[in-house]
Amino acid sequence: MKVGVVSYGTYIPIYRIKVEEIARIWGENAEAIKGGLGIYQKSVPDVDEDTATISVEAAREAVYRANINPKDIGAIYVGSESHPYAVKPTATIVGEALGVGNDFFSADLEFACKAGTAGMQMCIGFVRSGMIKYGLAIGADTSQSKPGDALEYSAAAGGAAFIIGKNPIAEVEETYSFTSDTPDFWRRELQPYPSHGGRFTGLPAYFRHVTSAAQGLMDKMGLKASDFDYAVFHQPNAKFPVRVAKMLGFTNEQIKQGLLVPYIGNTYSGASILGFAAILDVAKPGDRILLVSFGSGAGSDAFSIVVTDAIENFERNPTVWDKVNQGVFIDYGEYLKHRDKIRM
């Protein structure tokens, strides 16, 4: 019995700010930053958007495309590091807005940028065990950065929602996770902005966990990089996923379709799964996809996913790239207003 992605939906706020505009304010060299990060611009939420609104919009698209009764959803997990409330789950707001009823398993998840894929794994377990018919896993963020911090060039907003069930458009063949206690990036309770270990975030954190999860999955399945048609990795910038792909033996051709970060920035919990959704937009039956998320702290979830014949009758418009390519550019002043960094 095949279990996997029955439907998916995505949401990317329409506002964008260019690296040049942020660099202008802080007197930094925009070309050097673009060269270093491989990011040209990032998405910015509207003043009335947050992780809950992004989650609802992405989930509504997923439910609409699945053409299922929302009451058949038996679990909702929302993964984010920017839940609107410290105490009061985003998943309750999503459940109410979708009309799921009251009969569902639910929690908010938090594991930096991999909380969305953690939710997918939980839903896969529930569906395989027969406890629920459909599970809804969402990864969404409106990530915060301290004005003037290096993260300001990348911290963006967006999210993706996946309905997990039987008769999928993309079967999850296998999943594998790699987890360790690594303090590369954190935010203490009541602090508005996260702290990070600077250059320490690369090798012991991102690269070790992503390669270990991907390799662990491939070893478990007896697969190699060339057995996959597409691969998508967590993308805090454009440099890391390109380098990690190379380390694992993947080509630029395999990762191109899912590499969104140059045009929308790092959407944190949304990053790897928005890229995965962009791949599903164009994938054909039989295509095999490697999805690897990364969450600071740290851990990586790897998935091997095979697209089924059911994708051919599945509505995939508007595509993720349609949403990436739209955009209304704003200046730094408007950006501060949008990010609620000024108090009125």
Binding site: E49, V56, A97, G99, V328, K337, M344
Partner: protein
């Protein structure tokens, strides 16, 4: 404020309205009784599709304190595909709005009770491109 908002959450979070099976009329906000059929009303609660067009609009420049961040903003009279008319904030550039413009529902923040209070969510409209 809190109990009153909570009781109406279902109708604010989505366009859940009512339909009279006797005369095929739609209503939003939902009603318990059809004004045409009275005692013969056969009211059913249903979610509306959420697509419509702008019949009329106004641009608010003099906003109340809690909506200052959003001004100037557009408030529009919108006719849904089922004929129901709703008044809602239309999230778009005031320069962009025009009569006849196609719009769709969107889940957005209405506001919040300061930094420690509750956050209010609900349905607004956005351009349907």
């Amino acid at each position: 404020m809190l109990p009153r908002f909570w009781r109406k959450i279902k109708y604010r979070y989505d366009l859940v309205g009512s339909y009279c099976e006797n005369c095929q009329s739609f209503f939003y906000p939902p009603r318990n009784l059809c004004p045409h059929c009275r005692r013969r009303s056969k009211i059913k609660e249903i979610p509306f599709d959420g697509k419509g067009r702008v019949l009329s609009y106004t641009v608010v420049h003099d906003a109340p304190e809690e909506y200052k961040e959003e001004k100037p903003y557009v408030v529009a009279l919108i006719e849904l595909e089922n004929g129901v008319r709703v008044i809602s904030q239309l999230v778009c550039d005031p320069e962009e709005v025009e009569i006849g413009m196609e719009v769709k529902k969107a889940f957005r923040k209405y506001g919040e009770d300061g930094n420690s209070g509750i956050i209010y969510y609900g349905t607004k409209f956005v351009p349907d491109n």
